[in-house]
Amino acid sequence: MDYELSPAEAAWRDEVRGFIRRNVDPGLASETRLKGNEGRGPLALRFHRALRDAGWWGIAWPKEYGGLGKSAVEQWIFIDEIESAGAPMLPLTVTSVAPTIMRVGDEQQKREWLPRINEGGIDFALGYSEPEAGTDMASIRTHAVLDGDEWVVNGQKMWNTMAHSATHNWLAVRTEPDAPRHKGLSMMIVPMDAPGVTVQPIWVWPGLRTNALFLDNVRVPRSNLIGDRGAGFYYAAMALNFERLAIGSVGMGRRMFRNLVRLVRERVVDGRPLKDEPWVRERIARLAADLEAGRMLGLETAWAIDQGRMPAAESSMAKVFVSELVQRIADAGCEILGLDGQLHPEEPTALVEGRMQWLYRLAPMLAFGGGTNEVQRDIIGFLGYGLPRK
């Protein structure tokens, strides 16, 4: 039994922290905050360039694809530190799509896409959800028909979050209409500038932008279908598993909590230091313990990957626990700050930059998004404990 970072892991963490000290300034943190950690503002792009210059774009990519070849634990450390610092995340292009292409693409596809991703020239929006297909991806209706050497794509996607700034869409489409629902999907890369692609903004509760994506007779080369026809459902699941690893990190929760704690230490309300309120002390202590529990779940998931296991149950545990914990942090923050905490993030006098009420509005998405927590709990039961389906 050993829970300490190895010397190499600790050195890596220090290296990451050094990089953050050099490359994250209040301007970047503020831009990232205003864009809700999803934007691509000029400072974020500069930060991403610095990551690439450091050779840190594909941290966990094998070296043969230009990556650093770091372990999953080391990638987890990186994500945790980045989130904790409030810096822009690595794009899902790098952490989710690229690793999937590495595993399922043919040689030509790898040569075509991976170097461009590595250079920062490609940024994907993720096209899984549709109006009638949320967590239930097998219901996807967007379809593509082969016409000569081109696929002709028609349909609509929802929650296509980066569509307005992305260069391409990583699209789940139905290519085998006669196959069973799960076997009829393929993954396809669609350039955003292809004729027939339209993007319509959707604004959601925390003030973030996402998009609806419309595809009207969009033509893409035959070779843009990645891997095997009909295997899209499994590829998307693989990509989502890579994605969940990042969601399960408690870095953001730690950052929000740290800001809250700092404020509690300083504030005086009704003539009394806020930190002397017993209920505030208890809430803070509970959240700290919960964050430590969440950290353990994330770290174990990463460790299991390094042991060569596919930790589906573990990553679901981390996702469920952390998403529900963030909600508790947000609610505690709102209650502790009281009237001071309910100001809109754009109000200059909003405490902790309005993050507590923002987090309160964001938190539901963490639980229903990325595969609802119900499905995650099903996965834990089925894959973690072998419970029967019938």
Partner: protein, 361 residues
């Protein structure tokens, strides 16, 4: 006992529901949210003309003379139908003034909608009246108020402020024209654009002052909390109803999601929470209406109902998924109101402290 509205109350609620279902929809709410008044003047006029703002005011002041329970029924239904917050605030603040002085000459203007009153209680230093620093001074006939009030709802959109202040060793309320020299409002937006303001009063002339005991202040606050409870049960009812409808309609994995036991059980828990919260709330509202002294049950309602509303909203958001997450969806308005009502009128910690003191000290 009869834990249900009377026939008359039910009729009132149906009338409110009818109007709001026609006049309020998410697109309008979203538009109003971005307008300075955070509300439509036509709707404001309609609501006043229908007598909603004056419902609980004395008939001699142009009001409906109804008791707090009736006003709470109105407010419950208004909250259910997402009446814009400034108008709910108008009902609230009119109640505060009438509680302090049922014959105040401003009341007819409030009832008719010609005037709007903002209730200025909390201060930047906190919410405990004993710590408030805003004070009255000056000779009779030339009284002025000095101080600072924080997070005053509708501070900018109102015509007159009802300002809680110290007057020597005792409490008083000062009515201050919002446009009188010395009044400065810094507008603030809360959850979802909710309009509030920090207000500075610098030797601001007092229109009229109302001497008030600490008990009178407490009575005002209890009634405000009662109306907040009604807002919360109304919001909860709407959220539960829309969630039941949604899970019956939305399909995933080839079936209505209501068929999944995990979904069904979340709806069941929302229902249980709502049912208990509604009765806790209304027990307290009716007792306050009847002039009963504050009791442990009242503190229990405060502690419980706000948390219940938040829990119900949280589950509703979870079950709606992305569909309820767009800014145009009614659900998110309720979610914002849940937290902000809770923070302002039903914070849990002081209510729990009160219960503990009653049982243990």
């Amino acid at each position: 006992m009869r834990p249900e509205p009377t026939g008359e109350q039910r009729e009132l609620q149906e009338a409110v529901r009818g109007l709001l279902s026609r006049e309020v929809d998410p697109d309008r709410l979203l538009r109003w949210e971005n307008e300075p008044a955070a509300c439509d003047p036509v709707l404001a006029r309609t609501v006043a003309e229908l007598g909603w703002i004056g419902l609980g005011l004395p008939t001699a002041s142009g009001g409906g003379g109804a008791d707090l329970s009736d006003v709470a029924c109105l407010v419950e239904e208004c909250a259910r139908g997402l009446l814009p917050r400034p108008l709910l605030g108008a009902i609230r603040s009119a109640d505060a003034l009438a509680t302090l002085d049922p014959a105040d000459p401003l009341l007819p203007d409030l009832a008719s909608g010609r005037g709007r009153l903002a209730l200025a209680l909390d201060e930047p230093g906190g919410r405990d009246p004993r710590g408030w620093k805003t004070a009255l001074s000056g000779p009779r006939g030339a009284r002025v108020v000095d101080g600072e009030k924080a997070y005053v709802p509708d501070a900018e959109g109102s015509d007159v402020h009802l300002v809680a202040a110290r007057d020597g060793g005792s409490t008083a309320f000062a009515l201050v024209d919002r446009r009188t020299p010395g009044v400065s409002v810094q507008a603030l937006r809360g959850f979802g654009g909710d309009r509030q303001g920090h207000v500075g009063y610098r030797a601001a002339a007092v229109l009229r002052e109302i001497a008030a005991t600490d008990e009178a202040l407490a009575r005002v606050q209890r009634r405000q909390a009662a109306l907040a409870l009604a807002e919360m049960t109304g919001g909860m009812a709407a959220v539960l109803e829309m969630t039941v409808e949604y899970v019956k309609m939305r399909e995933q994995f080839g079936q209505k999601i209501a068929v999944f036991q995990a979904v069904r059980h979340q709806v069941a828990d929302m229902g249980t929470t709502f049912t208990a919260a509604r009765h806790l709330a209304w027990q307290t509202i009716t007792r306050i209406a009847a002039g009963a002294p504050r009791d442990v049950e009242e503190a229990s309602a405060i502690a419980w109902v706000g948390q219940a509303f938040k829990r119900v909203c949280w589950t509703a958001h979870h079950l709606h998924g992305g569909a309820g997450f767009v800014v145009e969806h009614r659900l998110r308005f309720h979610g914002e109101r849940a937290q902000s009502l809770c923070i302002r009128w039903a914070p849990e910690a002081p209510a729990l402290r009160e219960i503990a003191a009653a049982l243990l000290d």
